[in-house]
Amino acid sequence: MSRTREFLRRILPQLVTLAAVLGLIAAVYPGFFEVSMANGRLYGSLIDILNRGAPVALLAIGMTLVIATRGIDLSVGAIMAICGAVAAAAITSGLGLAAALGLALAAGLACGLWNGLLVVLFGIQPIVATLILMVAGRGIAQLVTEGAILTFTHEGLIFLGSGAVFGVPTPVLIWFAAGALALLVVRRTALGMLIEAVGINRRAGALAGVGAGALIVAVYMVSGLCAGMAGVIAAADIRGADANNAGLWLELDAILAVVIGGTSLLGGRFSIAASLIGAMIIQSVNTGILLSGFPPEFNLIIKAAIIIVILVLQSPRLRAGPRLRRPGGRVRGASAAEKKERVTS
């Protein structure tokens, strides 16, 4: 089977789900697919979904790689708050756009490095290691903004959140570019295979010559970098850094996007494209509930119902497919340690 066909087959379930969700919204909200051009910028519900979904899409890129190594990154929401705060603080103190962006992304990388070192050097479970920054991160962000919502008027920074290039909103371009870059790097080099090797069996990978340590640290740094970009976009969008609410609970949406994308929480085979579609499914549900005139109170219930349906469809008990099992994995004969991992994760 050719590479393209294999790729399409992999993301088919997610594409079908997305189409179903979009079709459902269009059924209750006519004019959903209309896209118009005004003031040199595209407008329409579809564009809105792509635009609003940018932070979760960016987070999902890093989260996919982390989960593929059998990890999880709970701290991305807090990292968003930190990086947004750093960017806003830098720009209001008179630094240029490049310096502010550089500092913000460096902060994201540093957070990722911290997480990665905890996981690799100290051998701490990823869920616990990243919990530390998740708890402390918003405190650090508040330290940077000194407890206030730090607003700014720098045109260049605001452009990242609400500007448009050739009619396409900047956040959309950013996450498209980041996604395409990640896909290329991961699939055109051996990197993706190495990450999967680490996730499937770290010891076997090590015996086969895959140095897991550096790879895992790098993966958490990528996640931190993605969260940094998402944080800058979120801050630019509201023209201010809100340490308390920026990226709040987005780590859960990002994990959900990866799960909807069919990447197993047990690590191994992953698909960034499917995770990105997963992020768009989540955003479509959010936007769709608003558009369809349901009371917004039902938003969370519908979301929960959709998660449960997707979970049931992906359940290893109900489906013989490899989605939640590692390739060649056994459910009955899994060792005690693996079983434990499953419950924990």
Binding site: Q125, L131, I132, G139, E297, L300, A305, K340, T344
Partner: protein, 326 residues
Amino acid sequence: MSSRHLPLAATLLIFLVAYAACYAQFPAMLSTRVVGNLLTDNAFLGIVAVGMTFVILSGGIDLSVGSVIAFSGVFIAVMLRDTGLHPLAVFALLLVLTTAFGAAMGAIIHLLEMPAFIVTLAGMFLARGMAYVLSIDSIPVTHDFYDTLQGAYWLMPGKGRLTLIGGLMLLVVLGGILLAHRTRFGANIYALGGGVQAARLMGVPVGRTTVGIYALSGLLAGLAGIVFSLYTSAGYSLAAVGVELDAIAAVVIGGTLLTGGSGFIAGTFIGVLIMGLIQTYIIFDGTLSSWWTKIVIGILLFAFILLQKGLLWASTGRRWRLAGSG
């Protein structure tokens, strides 16, 4: 002292040292009034953390508890406003609901073999969503019986007040300790945390235990919701956001391993007290900003996890190294 008890001893030591340091700076910290307030203010967190300890001991996690507390508050407020039911009847109804909710999550985790993380995440959305559907406004609770419950306290020596909800938390902690160490269910939970396959081979009813654990967590989250409702006299669907994280942090600070199988309810209780002590200190100091709470808790988490790792490493040595890399 075995290495199993070391994290617990370390937690206790840190609490005592921290309390002594606070006392050196503010002698009033030692009064029973402060102790009474510490128990009252952290009653709901303590109760929910006991449930979380059981879940984590079994190797799972329950992200839904904060939402369940919010749902409980709104449910109680709406029921008391719209029906003529007595608060006790409403409490009973609520506890049945939240226990069934927890049991359902446990059943899904077991039957569909899904990660607890994702299932309870859905539960978190669902409970918060139900709270929104009941009411998006904050509803005050005004009932004579509520006044009676809120006014009930036992005057400790030194004029400190052990309120009803503070006492309730102590009872739950005691009950939790008994359940964990004196019953078959408790032993099964530890066994499950040690490894599902091994537990199954030992004859532990895995399904029944899993459902029971999450049902217990749901029950205690409901109880915490009642306490929270008594504490705030209102029901609000946006309340108790992030309490699940506080509870998990308290459990970890209390010396329970997040991989399951090792830990103590008493440790969690001290963990809750340490978190409460940090907040009390910040209030006493008056100049520190509230965000330091989060940072200090983060640092404490880090310190405890390192401590646990060190102990584990020292006690099992090479064996752990191999397990860690596999």
